[in-house]
């Protein structure tokens, strides 16, 4: 059997690993439009603020591909999938025949459609090329306009500030991180960002960018006077890379529609990661959760099923965490009240914990504050996934989870009997 995987990041890697564990013989080909071995996009902002060394963004080396007997083709962009003849074609004209195909092409950043948005001086923060373009600009410590209010843009703004740049942050909505955290968490974060010295503009959209002599940019935000910056970073969101699948008959909504086994609507073709729109932990409509953990889980499910062993995914559970502007923000599952869902919260030294419930079953949570509170959301995750009730008095939650550990200890962690002497000695029977 010939397996072809398009992509070389979280989902693709998890898939080939899972596949090879089961199937030692089939041939595996990975096709990536980027250079070199796999690296982690998540780390790019950390490199910009010197928390991670540029050479440490790589999460696999060449020996990995060799040991799994993978034929890796880099800088080959797939432009065509021929379902009848079962091959994929790349821009350079190469064809790769497949028996089974995994599409793990991820997503690419989108930009507002305004004049001057493409070209010199305007960056995304998504690829190694972006990083390499931005690093020297960060060295120069000039001024930057960051556009967007998600994880990537806020991380970029923080990295720039930490590197000594003067930072303007333009956000179209009145709220920060609208899609990942609740309104009150967004407000707390906003205060921290203002305290840190970012020129934060909420509720503004970018109208156009003008290029000046010497490479500087003049930016026009709606309703304010134009101002000049050295460069612009845009991170307003990502879009699944599905364009090359047009005409294949593979069903695409927001992303590629997949079932619990990561199968697409076309036999023999699977999808996983940012490009896939799959079942969620809440059993609702299928959704694109463009996050690393979901990519990893879906990749593993896809790889296992591709190797012929049936494995159903219990659905993705969105989870996000970040520390920036001296505050930790994390969210999981449903993070805002809606019909049938109520929330309970608890103030903490550094912020708050909020857990949302449907009846007495937790469905999600938000944490702003310290790291140990993030661990509390971690405890909550199996309860959300398995729809197990837990107390609504959050001050009781820590103890409740501790008590729950006793069950885990009895089940998994092997409580030994009283005293060291009662362990059966070897040869004593």
């Amino acid at each position: 059997m010939r397996l072809v995987v398009i992509g070389n990041s979280a989902a693709a890697l998890a898939a080939v690993e899972a596949f090879r564990q089961i199937d030692k013989d089939s041939s595996m080909t990975m096709i990536s439009k980027e250079r070199g071995p796999a690296y982690s996009r998540v780390l790019l902002p950390y490199v910009l603020r010197h928390k991670v060394k540029p050479e440490n963004i790589f999460i696999r080396d060449v020996s990995f591909y060799r040991s799994l007997n993978i034929d890796l083709h880099c800088e080959e962009e797939v432009v065509e999938v021929n379902v009848e003849k079962a091959f994929v074609g790349t821009r350079s004209g190469r064809r790769f025949p497949y028996d089974r195909l995994l599409v793990a092409t991820g997503s690419d950043p989108v930009r507002p459609l305004v004049e001057g948005m493409e070209g010199e001086g305007v960056f995304s923060l998504w690829t190694r090329d972006d990083l390499e373009g931005l690093l020297p600009l960060f060295e120069k410590k000039g001024s930057v306009l960051v556009v967007g209010s998600g994880f990537v843009s806020l991380q970029a703004a923080w990295s720039a500030l930490a590197s000594g740049l003067s930072v303007t942050l333009a956000v179209r909505s009145q709220r920060l991180m609208r899609r990942v955290i609740s309104e009150e968490a967004g407000c707390l974060l906003r205060d921290k960002i203002l305290q840190a010295g970012v020129d934060l503009r909420l509720g503004v959209s970018i109208e156009r960018i003008e290029r000046l002599e010497g490479g500087r940019l003049r930016v026009f935000l709606k309703g304010t006077d134009p101002f000049e910056v050295d460069f612009v970073i845009v991170a307003i969101g990502v879009c699944p890379n599905t364009a090359f699948l047009e005409g294949t008959g593979i069903q695409i909504d927001e992303g590629i529609l997949v079932d619990h086994r990561m199968k697409t609507s076309v036999e023999g073709i699977y999808a996983a990661g940012d490009v896939a729109q799959g079942p969620t932990a809440f059993g609702e409509e299928r959704a694109v959760h463009a996050i690393w953990p979901t990519a990893e889980e879906q990749g593993r499910v896809a790889g296992t099923n591709l190797a012929g062993v049936e494995l159903a995914y219990s659905g993705s559970l969105n989870m996000n965490v970040t520390q920036m502007f001296s505050v930790t923000v994390a969210s999981m599952g449903i993070f805002e009240e809606r019909e049938g869902i109520e929330s309970h919260s608890l103030s903490t030294e550094a912020g708050f914990i909020r857990v949302l419930y449907r009846g007495d079953v937790p469905v999600g949570g938000v944490v702003v504050g310290s790291s140990e509170d993030v661990a509390l959301l971690g405890h909550l995750r199996p309860f959300i996934r398995k729809h197990r009730p837990c107390p609504q008095d959050l001050s009781e939650l820590r103890k409740f989870f501790a008590m729950d550990l006793v069950g885990t200890i009895r089940r998994e962690h092997l409580a030994l009997p009283r005293g060291r002497l009662s362990i059966p000695k070897e040869g004593s029977r």
Partner: protein, 164 residues
Amino acid sequence: MKIITINPDICVGCGNCEYACANEQKGNFDIKNSWIRVNFYPADRVCIPWNCAQCEDAWCMRVCPAGAISRDPKTGAVLIDEGLCAGCKMCMLACPYGSIHFDLEAAVSRKCDLCGGDPQCVRACLSGALQFVEVDRAYEFRRRQFDNVLRAMPGIAKQDGEER
């Protein structure tokens, strides 16, 4: 391979394990630097030591976007490479047991590394609630315990006329 076993029934809550861990990991006795934690609720007479279980299928290891978490082939411990850790805290969000802690000074995640094969918490344990034993031996005990439960059930024949 050896594992740390925990028996909450006999833990006395002395906290020695936490001090031993902090001392080994950071060279002081500040228990915020301890990767083992005793959940101590005296009013409820509850006292539960908890440490990383070094899960066989460790989710923290799989979700780490920096590839900083790996398994020590010698001890079986799940290790965080602090040179690679970006401090993103995804592992803390992933761990269902709260076994990963954040080191604010170094801004990296930290967890039990089994002290390279000689866990100091177990050495310092007063009551014997923590033990460091071969996996098969721990399972052997559990199998016997289960056996006993079965034999005590009505209708299950006792073997060799043994009284239990």
